[in-house]
Symmetry: C2
Subunit: 366 residues, 2 copies
DNA sequence: ACCAGTTGTTAAACTGTTTTACTAAGGCTA
DNA sequence: TAGCCTTAGTAAAACAGTTTAACAACTGGT
């Protein structure tokens, strides 16, 4: 009977299956061997077709590619990584700031990074380096367990000692928009010096001399670049004791407002304020408006960043444009080159430019 | 002598190594076999130690663990993934909005997702579903090439047809803070109906009847939930033709301002505006302030989201708090359960609550 | 006709882990 | 004391690719 022979067949199959593939695999999950069998070539050939190896002839390539398409075969990334050298994943490390993932500055950098990485067939993993995270050595695991090929470090400064972990181990890593103490790490950042010169040129040419500065995070090298230019340009104008003309605005609008209050209180005759970023400039403008001090008629304001989508700011903000998106794309390029061993040490600077808008005007005697 | 026998042993090892591994491997890269050899156990035992398998005795576990620590061994994730079932990575898909990565709403969701995923030993990959990305089928590759275990979809609505690709293939995926056409996908979202009821209760109890609404994205199910409650509650008050009381604010402050202008023009007697999110509420308030219309004396405003860090908003905004952070953590939990096969279909709602601040007050005859 | 060189393809080794089936030893019951 | 569970550990197969040495089939030169 059919059922009998079926049983026998089943038993035979069961034995053979036991020998060949103990657990039956779902037939829809096809691998490189299936493709090779179907195309009548070896797995090596299929692998070479996938990777566009020129050793394969056009004819074979086409034939195999057709089988791949027909079967809907997709190479397993974990297998490729295990066998090959790279993960095609890069980590984006952020500091433990509460709203880092909702920030215009990081958002612009991340857009550039994500777009470029995607275009180059890389994925990005985003991690926030919270204290416990660092204590557990998760940032080291990331590379050592072969999750990633390398790191992009955003928003860190000299205080973040965990970066030395990456430096001493020689992991491929690039600091984005900053430098790290003693150049232990490769870096690429906007030309904050140039930006500061552009801003100071603008204010000085408009006749301003009593220029205050709202800075933030002096533990960051690029922030110090700006401070240094500001200090020098002021000294050139005979203003030697600038310390009383500077206040920390903590990178936030509220901090900017508080700093503006402090500065305006100490120097009622100030005619311009240079701000370390747009958010602090926004806060300063808000404070001045409340006090009935007109921007730009009484006080001129310049920011840094040129963040998009500042809603309803009046007057519009004159600012130093930082090419953050381009910085993100360039950082990805440099990191991948570094991973591939094609790059020596990376130290690169991207030019800024001033965007003249409504918050600056010629100085007026007050 | 000891040194002699050591030399002999070395030679034997050298020969065996030559046979086993033709190319010399860098000695710093140690694997499970090295650990097994050093500890005098099989690789299986080491594997079981790593994974805390109870089959291993306390004594052996301790001995092997010590070797692991001494050698600084870290299991290779790609190898674990290849051999095992899971990648321990989840994809966060975002729509192709220009500043999605700099948005307070997404930022809060992402924080919850990132924190919870990290705590559970998972990594997150963030991808924006741009047209070309979808056309290339990258969103499908992500799962089929075993980059990830599953998807969290943020900010999508019924218009995003690419989600059906995930649904038809039965990939583990959860829509976060929305539903998808015909419930093809699992979802978890804030209780927008409840939020709308809370907001309407508030306004009605304050005596408001001429309540306008600034909505956005009616192609989104949760947005429709709010509209539906608004329409019903208005109808209960005898207000049947509400269409003229509604305007699309596009989720942006500018859109909110424009919508407020349109509504205030059509209904100079309106006494309150319900806004689909805080950003549009902000825009509406800005427009009203410019027109000399006082909030809340002349017009009450209620928003949705309770986004943090709205700088210098006066009066402070009464709003429906959405538990976005918690939603993010819950979404991760549900997705991982689903990946592990521990969950059936996921349809979950998280309660909202009203935060009463300064932008609402009792109605006043105008 | 023979040898060298080029081209295209293959077999086999290798990547680093998990898992399953098996074994040996020890303890318990009948 | 034989028989049967447990317990703790091992050997080997599987996972799904890449890489390389070797080889076969041509081509061209002498």
């Amino acid at each position: 009977m059919d059922s009998d022979s079926a049983v026998v067949a089943d038993n035979i199959n069961a034995i053979e299956d036991r020998e060949a593939t103990p657990r039956a695999k779902p037939p829809d999950k096809i691998n490189i061997r299936d493709v090779a069998g179907e195309a009548g070539v070896s797995v090596a050939t299929v692998s070479m077709v996938i990777n566009n190896n020129p050793r394969i002839s056009r004819a074979t390539h086409g034939r195999v590619q057709r089988v791949i398409d027909r079967l809907g075969y997709r190479p397993s990334r974990p297998a490729q990584t295990l066998s090959g050298k790279y993960t095609q994943v890069i980590a984006v490390l952020l500091p433990a700031l509460r709203h880092a993932l909702a920030d215009a500055y990081f958002g612009e950098l991340l857009s550039g990074i994500a777009d470029r990485a995607g275009k180059l067939g890389h994925k990005i993993i985003i991690e926030q380096a919270k204290p416990q995270y660092v204590k557990d050595g998760k940032h080291i695991e990331l590379y050592e367990r072969k999750f990633i090929d390398g790191y992009l470090c955003l928003g860190f400064n000299d205080k973040h000692k965990m970066l030395t972990d990456l430096a001493t181990r020689q992991f491929p890593a690039i600091m984005v928009d900053n430098r790290f103490a003693g150049n232990q790490l490769d870096w690429i950042h906007c030309d904050y010096r140039l930006g500061a010169e552009q801003a100071m040129n603008c204010l000085l040419q408009l006749g301003h001399r009593k220029i205050a500065m709202i800075f933030a995070a002096p533990e960051s090298a690029t922030a110090r670049d700006v401070l240094e230019v500001y200090t020098r340009r002021m000294a050139e104008q005979g203003m030697d004791r600038v310390d009383a003309w500077m206040a920390d605005g903590m990178f936030t609008p509220e901090g900017g407002a508080a700093a503006a209050e402090k500065l305006a209180g100490a120097h009622p005759d100030l005619s311009a304020i240079l701000c370390g970023n747009d958010k602090m400039a926004l806060g300063a403008m808000h404070y001045l408006a409340q006090k009935g001090i007109s921007v730009p008629n009484d006080v001129s304001i310049i920011g840094f960043d040129d963040i998009q989508h500042l809603p309803f700011i009046h007057p519009s903000l004159t600012t130093v444009h930082l090419p953050l998106y381009e910085l993100g794309t360039a950082a990805v390029d440099r990191l991948i080159e570094k991973v591939r061993g094609k790059a020596g040490s990376v130290t690169e600077v991207l030019p800024t430019h001033l965007i003249l808008r409504g918050s600056t005007s010629i100085v007026r005697n007050r």
